[in-house]
């Protein structure tokens, strides 16, 4: 049995951006970790389908845990992204008021931003606003300039964390759903669809299912309310229509519909905010898409003339509380990291650092913090140099000159590299997130057949990924007892 009998220091349930960040931070401090996820890849839940913004936290509640961890995490991730090759662009954001009422709220938002340590946030004139965003619909009454807001690749980020965690000795168990947890004197037994995981500590980073995991550990403190957000991605030809992230004035319930550039050179419009009962329902809706298009055309009228490249929906894990729900219980050897809602990507490294410190304080043995050398991930952004543009790289390896996906300009070399990486994709969606292949305007009209064949070739070769755990007999707590 691979690892089933070995007792890990910590089992982290949920391999989203928060879970992978915690695994990385702990593994780098010599903690033996098992990272568990029900899906076939890391970062497939809330992590993969959001607005892909690296927030400064200017609009968080001052003094809240979210405010603190977001500021810290955002700074850490800015720096980490540079070293790990995660695409980030510091586009800045403009928060635009369209009504007198919204304009009257701008000073309060300014004040909040300054309380949150964003000293560079300032009110700007509509003249400056339109000079910077000439395609913006006429009629704006005022705006706040938030220079620190950035856009980031939400796919490379958890992959970088997980890759670094694996290199530091963490184990990753995918396609592994937790069915029950039994807590003993010195260890937990986490029952999963692929066997039992023994560990001293459990970290619950299960996002949309964190309340279910919490109940398995005897808690009943909170309930996750899935909040669905639909998003529309416009063609790269729309990218010149804006320079910054265009934010609306938030309401009590949501941050509202924004228009933002993406690090892949597209334009993103969304999200909607709809509370739904089903934790797996990421379907888009006719009403949601119509509402988004209406909002988008009001903000940037020229969007109406551009093609839509992709449409998707993600779920954020909302709770009754506004703030993060992070609790470390030394007696039960349990850390609950929940209610991260929509800022997990930006705060991930701050959350991981905080959780590690709290675990250390509660008795988990941590080694000193070495200055880690993060893995250099394949660069899939639009602002920097991609392999197809790199004459030296093509000269050294012609596979980087053979473009397979023309919309996104992904080469055979990059697909080969992704399939051979320490954390290879399990399916086409995984390959998309690692290379951008199939994500473009034609959605596979040209390359769908070729890419499917390349992936099938790997699967036929039977190359088991190094981290794969052979499926074991299904065990449930009841079966174990019997």
């Amino acid at each position: 049995m691979t690892g089933d009998s070995a007792l890990a220091d910590v089992a982290i349930i949920g391999a989203g951006v928060v879970g992978t960040a915690i695994a990385r931070t702990l593994a780098l401090q010599d903690v033996s970790c098992v990272l568990i996820d029900a899906a076939n890849d890391v970062g497939t839940g809330t992590t993969k389908a959001n607005t892909a913004i690296l927030h400064t936290g200017f609009d968080t509640v001052p003094g809240s845990l979210e405010s603190r961890l977001l500021r810290r995490g955002s700074a850490l991730l800015q720096e980490y992204a540079q070293r790990a090759g995660i695409p980030v662009e510091r586009t800045g954001a403009l928060l635009v008021a369209w009504t007198a009422e919204q304009a009257s709220e701008l000073p309060a938002i300014w004040d909040k931003a300054h309380q949150n340590g964003c000293a560079d946030v300032r009110l700007i004139t509509t003249r400056e606003l339109y000079r910077r965003e000439p395609h913006l619909c006429p009629g704006a009454l005022g705006a706040l300039d938030i220079p620190g807001e950035s856009i980031i690749c939400p796919w490379t980020t958890p992959l970088a964390y997980a890759t670094e965690a694996l290199a530091a000795g963490a184990r990753l168990r995918l396609r592994c759903q937790v069915t029950g947890i039994r807590t003993g004197e010195t260890e937990h037994r986490v029952f999963t669809t692929t066997g039992v995981v023994r560990c001293r500590w459990v970290v619950n980073a299960a996002g949309l299912r964190s309340d279910l995991i919490d109940r398995m550990l005897g808690g009943d403190g909170f309930t996750i309310q899935p909040r669905r957000g639909e998003l529309i991605v416009f063609d790269k030809l729309a990218r010149p229509l804006l320079t910054a992230i265009l934010l609306p004035v938030p309401t009590a319930r949501t941050k509202g519909v924004l228009v933002a550039p993406t690090v892949y050179g597209n334009v993103l419009l969304g999200p909607t905010a709809e509370d739904i009962p089903d934790r797996g329902d990421t379907a888009t809706t006719a009403t949601g898409l119509a509402a988004l298009l209406g909002a988008g055309h009001r903000i940037l009228p020229a969007l109406a003339g551009e093609e839509v490249t992709a449409v998707y929906a993600g779920l954020r894990a909302a709770t009754a509380d506004r703030d993060y729900q992070i609790r470390v219980d030394g007696a039960r050897r349990y850390a609950c990291v929940a209610g991260i809602r929509s800022t997990g990507l930006s705060a991930s490294l701050g959350i991981a650092e905080y959780v590690a410190d709290e675990l250390g304080g509660a008795g988990l043995r941590l080694a000193g913090k070495p200055e880690p050398d993060p893995p250099v991930m394949p660069y899939i952004g639009q602002a920097g140099m991609r392999p197809y543009q790199d004459a030296a790289r093509i000269a050294a390896d012609p596979e980087y000159g053979r473009i397979v996906c023309h919309c996104e300009r992904v080469t055979r070399g990059e697909i080969r590299d992704a399939l051979a990486s320490p954390l290879p994709p399990a399916d086409l969606d995984g390959l998309r997130r690692r290379t951008r292949v199939l994500n473009g305007r034609c959605q596979g009209f040209y390359c769908g057949a070729t890419v499917a064949a390349l992936l099938a070739e790997r699967d036929w070769a039977g190359a088991e990924p190094s981290w794969a755990v052979p499926p074991a007999a299904r065990l449930s707590p009841a079966a174990e007892t019997a």
Binding site: G288, V311, A395, P398, G401, R441, C442, Q443, A449
Partner: protein, 409 residues
């Protein structure tokens, strides 16, 4: 490097242009295509009916593609495959990327023949789940005819134009059961013979006035919710494959990167009757300027553009060619070419081509500043089908006057 003519796209339009350019002695011709084989879309259109108007014979798609690729090579054009244009760096200077590296090419004239594609599901904003098993005809035919994939289960085809019937044949050939062709229009827009054959040979009905409202199935496709546009009634249709056909859009990214003036109707570059764009020395032909016509029409357009290029290379570019815009009124969608080159040639085959959004039996009228230039005989107007308009009225247009308006009378 330098070349006299750079042709971008080795489909019917690009290859036919290359043959003609060499025949006319227009100098060195470099044809580039991002694909690994020349021939374009006909390569994976494994049915007959290609070549009637340009080659005066009827061939299968792959045979037609091979014939043009061989003809262009025989004529002395250099054809570079697996070579993508990844940058537009100057008026007639581009960056090429291939396994051989990154290279800059400058040409005296450029022909854009980048073709068109079908709008995929997201561009059509069809809501619901996003399982695999949903594709365009282009992807389907590449999977089946180029990669040799087999299919199983029930397939629903969205669209009922020529290409939709082609998708149906491909699906049946690959082993799928085609359930129906679905169109939002009141009836199909292909030839009656195709629809009859679909019913008789494959027992596939056309469900008219129907739209896909929603896709269901999280891990795999379960089916779609279909709505009747007349009654608003919906029903669930189980299926394992969903193919979005037609609804063409030109591959105009390069044209836009080049900063060419674009036509809001065709969504391709604005072209005059010589097929020259707003940028001197840059021409456009094929389905980039009329998405989508049959391969032979695209090839004849390529040949026409080649003649314009050859003439221009001989006498130098016209300093400020006088162009008269040609526009359509709804329910007409577009006209191609969309400008008259004053004193220039008539359009390819001596006619303009139009598209309508509606079925109609009516005359087409050409007007300029309230003055009627021409009225056609009554047509049977069918959406998705080419509507030809003679070009004799060009001589009656006032070169200094306002735009020419084409409309249904």
């Amino acid at each position: 490097m330098k070349t006299d003519v750079l042709v971008i796209g080795a489909g019917p339009a690009g290859l036919a242009a290359a043959v003609e350019l060499r025949r006319l002695g227009a100098g060195s011709v470099l044809v580039v295509d991002r694909d690994d084989q020349a021939g374009g879309i006909p390569r994976h259109s494994a049915h007959t009916g290609f070549g009637a108007r340009d080659l005066r014979r009827v061939l299968s798609g792959p045979a037609y593609a091979r014939r043009y690729a061989a003809a262009a090579a025989d004529a002395g054009a250099e054809i570079r495959l697996g070579t993508a244009v990844t940058g537009w760096d100057g008026p007639r200077r581009v960056t090429l990327t291939s396994a051989a590296g990154v290279e800059s090419v400058e040409a005296a004239a450029v022909l854009l023949a980048t073709g068109c594609r079908e709008r995929p599901r997201p561009a059509r904003l069809v809501p619901g789940d996003r399982p695999p098993g949903i594709m365009t005809t282009g992807e389907l035919q590449r999977r089946v005819y180029l990669a040799g994939e087999r299919l199983a289960g029930g397939a629903l085809v969205v669209g009922a134009e020529h290409v939709s019937f082609s998708a149906m044949v491909t699906l049946a050939h690959a082993g799928a059961d085609v359930i129906a062709l679905v169109t939002h229009l009141p009836r199909h827009t292909s030839y009656a013979a195709f629809a009859l054959a679909a019913g008789w040979r494959w027992h596939v009905p056309v469900w008219a006035s129907s739209v896909v409202r929603r896709v269901e199935g999280r891990k795999q496709l379960a089916g779609v919710e279909l709505a009747d546009t007349r009654t608003g009634e919906t029903r669930f249709v189980p299926c394992d494959l969903l193919v979005f056909t037609g609804d063409w859009i030109p591959d105009h990214e390069l044209a836009r990167a080049a900063g060419l003036e674009m036509d809001p109707g065709t969504r391709g570059p604005v072209i005059d009757t010589a097929l020259e764009t707003s940028e001197p020395g840059v021409f456009a032909a094929g389905n980039l300027v009329h998405a989508a016509e049959t391969a032979d029409i695209a090839a004849l357009g390529g040949r026409h553009a080649a003649q314009g290029i050859a003439a221009e290379l001989q006498r130098g570019p016209a300093p400020e060619p006088l162009r008269l815009p040609v526009m359509v009124e709804p329910p007409l969608l577009w006209i191609s070419p969309n400008a008259v080159r004053v004193g220039g040639p008539v359009p390819p085959r001596g006619r303009f081509v139009l598209r309508s959004r509606v079925f109609r039996r009516a005359r087409i009228e050409v007007r300029q500043e309230g003055r009627r230039l021409a009225t056609s005989n009554p047509y049977r107007i069918v959406p998705d089908r080419p509507l030809p308009l003679g070009a004799a009225w060009i001589s009656r247009a006032d070169p200094g006057g306002g735009p020419v308006i084409v409309r249904i009378r």
